[in-house]
Symmetry: C2
Subunit: 148 residues, 2 copies
């Protein structure tokens, strides 16, 4: 009974709900609507859908919350996002906005195994020094030479 896939769109809803919970006390549908830039009615639909899948607790006009399974799923997605963002910013040196944008899309399609390797790669890079050269510094230099 593990890991039923949900659509990228539903992942976004879950992730957003989770983020709002982290920041505020209650989750209002309109807040989800604003963050995802979709209509209020789309949020209602999505919530019903997520409720069917037992990922959110939902009832008409009622408080929105994540079920344990929903929270687990949301955390996973958020974690993927964070790893990707970290890679893009701290390794590739992409600017923050673009890194966010890319992470938002990549998080829905990257496999578990690639994620795992990416995590280790990041860890490895942060500590890798060799004969007083910092690897990432070297890459930045290399990159900015190629820029011109």
């Amino acid at each position: 009974m593990r890991k039923k896939k949900i659509s990228a769109s539903l992942e976004d809803y879950l992730e957003t709900i989770y983020e709002i919970i982290e920041e505020k006390q209650g989750v209002k549908a309109i807040e989800i609507s604003r963050r995802l830039k979709v209509g209020r009615s789309s949020v209602t639909e999505a919530l019903k859908n997520l409720a069917e899948k037992k990922l959110v607790n939902y009832g008409r006009y009622d408080v929105i919350s994540l079920t344990p399974a929903g929270e687990r799923a949301a955390r996973e997605i958020q974690f993927k996002h964070q790893v990707l963002y970290d890679f893009l910013v701290n390794i590739l040196g992409v600017n923050e906005d673009e890194a966010q944008n890319n992470a938002c899309r990549l998080e829905h399609v990257i496999s578990e195994n690639v994620l795992k390797r990416l995590i280790l790669f990041i860890e490895f890079n942060k500590n890798f020094h060799c004969a007083d050269h910092n690897y990432l510094e070297e890459f930045k230099k290399f990159y900015s030479e190629k820029e011109e």
Copy 2:
């Protein structure tokens, strides 16, 4: 008049057509159907759609080919795929099948700029040696230690 975005689905069709052209003389719709694992009728629809966008030359029961714009677009997608595959296999050390799978999905969502950086990162890595350590070798060692 540059770079109108098309859907991930249409990108797959374009890419597949391009691949078939590289391998065989003529493109048959059924071949596209087989490779993309969709029904024959879905191919017809997609071809009409791509023809509307002036990316393929299409007429009922007629030979399928790419327009110059279509070929350009297909090349771009294939190139992205190749870069991602290269990164996954040669840098992260992901196995070939999984790298193909991931590349197929990532190619539709990665931005131009991230791609550009990835290309340079790969280039940089291939040549980066330092005090007789090969960087990628070091990562492989690091990775396999963590594996256990």
